[in-house]
């Protein structure tokens, strides 16, 4: 049944369901009778007749009762018996009735068909005008022209047109319909050939309830089914039950099997007294039927039925090939888009950016109107999508209710709870979960497609005139239209597969990237170790010569200073000073490298107390200067006290240094709280800096001032940044030349 219906359909659905259920219960394969245009003889393995249809009276001039217990040889000549015995030995009569030729009995010719079922050899005899030696030569030209025309038919519809035409020619029925069953089991008429007096059903939909499941099952077993005369009285079997089993004889494979009274009524309601169906079976499933109607009773000779069966098989193969070609084409196209998407992903650092770079492909890939990517807390929307809040609601629902990797619905109004559905025009959703653990999804959206369906008869008019106890089919076959809303174009199996493929490709890429990151981390660790070895060696080997220079210069001054000229003493002092400075540089550099490696020992640190102790230490530097210290509200943070002391010392001594000459120098330490961090600002009214160089401030050995103006090795702020970043915080600075500077850092709240 179709999912969303206009009002009024609900009742119809219930009624149709009742009928369908009743039909489903009808045991149509054991009617206990056959159609009267032929004779059924059931024999044991010794070819002794154990059951016969009443029609034997008409066609064989023996009453059924008289035949029971007789040898078949009493009816047929020796050559016919020979064929019968040969056929009896063949294995394939278990699976399908075997044509054994034109048999002669009671001076009449019959087409004889034999199969074994329900422990019985069932011989069906149908009178024929063909003589003993005539084959099926007459039907060959018909089928041949059909086959050659088929090759030029490019679509399934065109194939069906041809089949309808050909079947009409072969059978001479008044109307031929070719229909396919949709996913809900409704039969959609794709092709029609009819005489003018017949109503047209082209394009209409026959409800699934018209063909109950057990009838579909029989259509798979008997590929051709003829009901020659709906008005003919069925010819009962004698005895009624299978004498070998004591149960009603299973007539599943019998071509003569009589028709369910419900179906007879259905035919009469439809105005057809003869009907014939040819099954279209694709990949083992009942794909559709060629359905033939005739207003008057009509016998179709056995050979013509064989021709139709053959035609049905060719049509089935062609449809299968056609569908596979279409599928292959679609898959190739999907693959082309997939490859494009993947190369876009591979070109970028993260797959979201990759998908975002080719939104057209992302949408075309799933034939969608819109898409959403949810990854790592981001939500990116493309094309026509519901708004972000709705998408997030959908994701909530998906992660709670769908454990499948792919979820799809062409009808969210039907498949999702009402509070998730308010998605505007969106009616179809296909969602692929990228990670089982995190809520990462790619979701495609399709708009609603309004669709008008024309039913071959208003299905809710079933069983209205019959007595309530009697199962009765619908009476009306008048066209009746309804509009379907709330659904999108359905998601095909190919599209679902492709979405899965995209997912696994993304996973592969993400995994590969993780491996690359791990390799990179490994490499970093290695170079870190190298750097450690390097600083170790710098610490030992570079310091020694500097120490020697300073030591010997000092000794020289001490021992020979008196003998040197003033210039000589100045030079010697410069040598000492330079070497000493170089030594300080080396020491600072080592401190910096140790900072990156030493373990943090975090505890509660009161910033106010820390600042005050640092200010005390700076006494020597502030001596003789007018420095005013100011404090805002300052927090207690979590961090390594020794390292944070170093940060404070660097920032405050910088502030003291660069406010040299201000009267007074004002240095203010402020605190500020955000939701997740403590922020500390150190503000001075010193020389400031040009914001153009702000990026250089925190680099190693970066200096913005001349050495004569402000001494220093240029490593202090690099240390500050390193320490704060190791505490998962950030540093930044603002300043203006001549108007002071603000240095700030934040630390995450615990």
């Amino acid at each position: 049944m179709n999912p969303v219906m206009t009002s009024g359909r609900a009742e119809q659905t219930a009624a149709a369901r009742d009928l369908l259920n009743a039909c489903e219960r009808e045991p149509i394969h054991v009617p206990g009778s056959v159609q009267p245009h032929g004779v059924l003889l059931c024999m044991d393995e010794n070819l002794r007749i154990v059951q016969a249809s009443e029609s034997a009276d008409v066609w064989l001039s023996h009453s059924a009762d008289a035949l029971v217990g007789r040898e078949c040889a009493d009816l047929l000549g020796e050559s016919d018996m020979e064929r019968l015995r040969t056929a009896r030995g063949r294995a394939d009569i278990e699976e399908s009735p075997l044509y054994i030729g034109v048999l002669t009995a009671n001076a009449r010719h019959f087409d004889g068909v034999l199969h074994r079922n329900d422990q019985l050899l069932q011989l069906e005899l149908e009178p024929t005008r063909r003589g003993q030696d005539m084959g099926f030569g007459g039907i060959y030209p018909l089928v041949r022209s059909f086959v050659s025309n088929l090759q030029s038919a490019s679509s399934v519809d065109a194939l069906c047109e041809l089949a309808a035409q050909e079947t009409k020619t072969i059978t001479g029925f008044g109307r031929i319909l070719v229909y396919r069953f949709d996913e809900d089991g409704h039969g959609q008429v794709l092709a029609e050939r009819r005489d003018e007096s017949y109503e047209s059903y082209l394009g209409m939909l026959f409800p699934a309830s018209d063909v109950p499941p057990q009838a579909r099952e029989l259509y798979l077993r008997n590929r051709v089914r003829l009901i020659a005369d709906a008005n003919a009285s069925p010819s009962p079997l004698h005895p009624r039950d299978n004498p070998l089993s004591g149960a009603p004889t299973d007539l599943s494979f019998s071509g003569l099997r009589s028709v369910s009274p419900v179906h007879i009524q259905y035919m009469k309601n439809m105005g057809t007294l003869a009907s014939m169906s040819v099954s279209i079976v694709v990949r083992g499933h009942l794909w559709g039927l060629i359905s033939c109607h005739n207003a008057e009773p009509r016998q179709v000779p056995f050979d013509a039925r064989i021709a139709c069966e053959h035609l049905g098989q060719i049509l089935s193969l062609q449809i299968e090939a056609n569908e596979e070609r279409a599928q292959t084409h679609q898959r190739l196209e999907l693959r082309r888009i997939l490859v494009g998407l993947l190369s876009a992903i591979a070109d970028r650092d993260d797959f979201v950016a990759g998908l975002m770079s080719s939104p057209t492909d992302l949408l075309a890939f799933a034939g969608a109107g819109g898409a959403a990517i949810l990854f790592g807390g981001r939500c990116e929307l493309f094309g026509d999508t519901p708004d972000e809040a709705e998408v997030l609601k959908l994701v909530d629902w998906l992660s709670a209710h769908s454990s499948n990797t792919v979820f799809s619905s062409a009808c969210i109004g039907r498949d999702l709870p009402a509070d998730v559905v308010s998605m505007g025009d969106t009616a179809g959703v296909m969602a692929v979960s990228i990670s089982q653990v995190h809520r990462n999804y790619i979701i495609w959206f399709r708009p609603e497609v309004r669709r008008t369906v024309t039913w071959a008869g208003r299905p809710d008019k079933t069983a209205t005139t019959a007595e309530p106890t009697m199962l009765s089919p619908r009476h009306s076959f008048e066209a009746w239209s309804e509009t379907h809303t709330g659904c999108s174009r359905p998601w095909s199996a190919g599209e679902l597969d492709a979405a899965l493929e995209l997912r696994s490709a993304i996973l592969t890429i993400v995994l590969r990237r993780a491996e690359e990151m791990a390799a990179l981390a490994h490499e970093l660790e290695r170079s870190n170790r190298e750097l450690e070895a390097f600083s170790y060696s710098v610490s030992h080997d570079l310091r020694a010569p500097l120490r020697h220079i300073v030591g010997y210069a000092d000794l020289l001054r001490e021992l020979e200073g008196e003998g040197l000229s003033d210039r000589g003493r100045t030079f010697l002092a410069n040598v000492e000073e330079s070497a000493t400075f170089a030594g300080t540089l080396v020491d600072d550099l080592l401190t910096f490298s140790q900072m990156g490696r030493a373990a943090l020992r975090p505890t509660q640190v009161n910033i106010r107390e820390l600042a005050e102790s640092v200010i005390k230490d700076l006494d020597a530097e502030t001596a003789g200067r007018n420095v005013r210290w100011e404090f805002g509200e300052l927090p207690v943070v979590r961090g390594d006290p020794a390292f944070l002391q170093m940060v404070m010392r660097n920032l405050l001594s910088n502030a003291v240094k660069y406010s040299r000459g201000r009267e007074p120098a004002v240095i203010r330490i402020d605190g500020e709280d955000t939701a997740t961090t403590h922020v500390i600002h150190v503000r001075d009214n010193g020389v400031g800096f040009n914001m153009k160089y702000v990026g250089k401030l925190f680099g190693v050995f970066q200096r913005l001032h001349r050495m004569e103006d402000f001494e220093g090795t240029g490593i202090g702020l690099a240390n500050v940044r390193r320490i704060i970043e190791r505490h998962d915080g950030h540093v930044w600075a603002e300043g203006e030349t001549g108007h002071g500077a603000v240095f700030s850092f934040d630390l995450p709240k615990p």
Partner: protein, 157 residues
Amino acid sequence: MSTSLKPILLVEDNPKDLELTLIALEKSQLANEVVITRDGVDALDYLFCRGDYESRHNGNPAVILLDLKLPRLDGIEVLQVIRTTPALRSVPVVMLTSSREETDLLRSYELGVNAYVVKPVAFGEFVEAIADLGIFWAVLNEPPPGSTRVARRSAQK
């Protein structure tokens, strides 16, 4: 030269550092003899009275000034032997080093070093540090003015 004082054992491979250290010791006016060895193996030979030092009279130095980076056996290894030899275990050891490496420092303290001196770049500071050490670990003697209280042993074997 006074023989009543135990000597100071200086283990240093770099000749310039050696000279500067000796001058620093001289400036701190210690009366102790200073025995010089130039690598870890040599230092242990002295301590165990073997090899070149077979004939020396027994007795441990007042203090060992041990450079960290030495050829053959380094300072840490020498310290390790000293601390695991009962006869030497109680000799004070002062580690002299250029290094500010935390790992060296931790390792030295783990092995029971008595003091650890990072040789400062400024010579004055170095003289002060050596003087402090000497006063603490060696026996201070009033030297006669102008006399050298340092006996140098040859660096060559």
